[in-house]
Symmetry: C2
Subunit: 340 residues, 2 copies
DNA sequence: CTGAAAGCGCTAACAG
DNA sequence: CTGTTAGCGCTTTCAG
């Protein structure tokens, strides 16, 4: 296919008997150019569907009008809503969005970040993967020297801006909600001990127990993982053991879903035999059998906020007028799964 | 932040006392360069974390190693799964993925496509928006002169490759499934009459009725839209009218969810009073009250297939060895919502 | 107000 | 096997 057909400044200039630089300036509405010339140039540009070559322009100006979004997975209600929020802002600001999925693998996260060393993007939004033995790889973000904003799964030790929800408070509230429903043996399910969201949610859980004089039993803290089948098995074993809880607080949605599946399989009744609450952005939470009590994160808003902070950093880098931490509150929505 | 720090070919060349082109060739493993030189060059490049400037390279080679994905929305199970499939292939092929959301608005779709006129991407994957009075705007895709592959929501009249599911057959099967459950007044719910998926699914519905000697009643074909609240109201009015059906075939997931909400609100029992089946990729279909019978599309595979066709077109444009139409089968999964 | 010229970083002839 | 050179299309001084 013939790329030579693409209109460029040269074509326009020749057609109009103007110089390339005049055309360029006219299109960018420079004060140096007369109104009449501008009109003529723009008319022809429109007619020929001129679109500036983004690479030439980026090469010259050293900015790409593009941001990268690095997330563990996309078929996940939280992340797809967050991306939606990010896209809305990006499209408003005239930025393009490159999306990268790490599939929870450190090696992908590192190589993705490394590929960003070259100016391809003006900024990065990242929610880190769960495979995070040490976070040393994130030092590469420091080196690439562009604005970075973490959202949801943040790297606490980093100095970049972070947008999260109130994980600790929500963990606390969820646990107290179960305690109010007279639960005594409340389990905490999580998938990755490396994530700060896990730890904060768990600290909320632990402190809520403590405040209510319920002894903390480490055997009720159950580590699952990102593999659905494995998590299913872990939850099943747990619920069939003599260590069986009377309530489950799932720190992530997929573990609540696993719990529902297991309960159905081994005939545990929710909420009679087991109460369940979960962090979740499931749109069908209220239609489940039984309706699932959730802590619903403002996923869309987290994306939007993270993006707008990023753009503030990108567009006026010197002025430090952006917050370096934003916490957006989650909402506890009690439903039948925690009815007493 | 100091962009001058970024390593480029010049830096490497100077450091090694070689010419820029030698370094360039060495890095690209050209046969023209000696092994020893290659090693030296690569070692230094690694050490200095050299990443080629993508804009310079794209400008010169007239290809971006980037594709665009244009979809109506992302917080939708079908699309997020499809994107997942696309990303897997793209990452394998070393391509970057730019995502654009049209939010079902024609004006966004057009302007997005127009912005792609300049070589920013080497190919486009698109699922068209529902606001598609006439599809004339898609002629812009012809003009930009790069490979395009439609997936799911295709523009039938176009000559570009299309990847879909078997919408007609699935519509037929879903309807027969309801007929087997002794339904007589089967309603068809849809959101946009402009989409070919709507029409194909509806034709399947109509022909299944016909084959089973059930008269087609146009009053049972209900047009909803993309606004959840409005659709909720439409479905509610419909179910409260004297035109009330004994079964609903929802051509898209969100209308099944709306139906569930309405039934709960006005105390219609599923499946006793109303049977429901829907195209859906809901992971929680089996956990709903009652579990929802679905026609599940191979969303991930559709994305993967569309992407791999696109890359075949991009990488060997002359050889027409790619299919121009791929149909991946959906699966009907009967659950309680259609129990007889 | 308009134009000439340099150069962003890389690739690809073409010479040597 | 290595180097020189000429751009890709655009922006941006700087001259006129």
């Amino acid at each position: 296919m013939d790329k030579s057909k693409q209109t460029n400044l040269k074509t326009l200039a020749k057609e109009l008997n103007l110089s390339i630089s005049t055309v360029s300036k006219a299109l960018r509405d420079s004060y140096e150019i007369g109104q009449e010339t501008k009109n003529k140039v723009k008319a022809l540009a429109d007619k020929l569907n001129y679109e500036p070559n983004p690479f030439a322009s980026s090469l010259r100006r050293k900015q790409s009008k593009t941001i990268a979004v690095i997330i563990p997975e996309i078929s996940n209600n939280f992340f797809s809503l967050a991306i939606d929020g990010i896209q809305v802002i990006a499209q408003e600001m005239g930025y393009h969005v490159l999306t990268y999925l790490t599939h929870e693998a450190l090696v992908n996260e590192i190589s993705t970040i490394n590929h960003l060393r070259n100016g391809r993007v003006d900024g990065v939004l990242i929610s880190i993967c769960s495979e995070n033995g040490n976070n040393s790889h994130l030092s590469v973000l420091d080196e690439i020297d562009i604005p970075v904003v973490f959202f949801d799964r943040v790297y606490e030790a980093s100095s970049f801006a972070k947008v999260t929800t109130d994980d600790y408070e929500s963990g606390f509230k969820a646990t107290e909600h179960l305690i109010e429903a007279k639960c005594k043996r409340i389990a905490f399910l999580f998938a990755s001990k490396h994530l700060s969201i896990t730890n904060k949610r768990m600290n909320g859980y632990i402190n809520a127990l403590e405040k209510n004089n319920i002894p903390f039993d480490p055997r009720l803290v159950v580590e699952c993982n990102n593999d659905n089948d494995q998590s299913l098995q872990i939850v099943k074993d747990f619920l069939l053991s003599d260590n069986r809880p009377d309530a489950i607080f799932a720190s992530i949605e997929k573990l609540a879903i696993a719990t529902y599946h297991v309960c159905r399989e081994i005939n545990i009744r929710i909420p009679q035999d087991l109460k369940v609450i979960s962090f979740s952005n499931l749109r069908t939470a209220s239609l489940l059998a039984p309706p699932l009590s959730t802590i619903t994160q403002p996923a869309f808003e987290i994306g939007r906020e993270a993006a707008s902070i990023l753009f503030r950093q990108i567009e006026k880098r010197d002025l430090k007028d952006y917050p370096d931490r934003v916490v957006l509150k989650s909402t506890l929505i009690p439903r039948e799964s925690t009815f007493f």
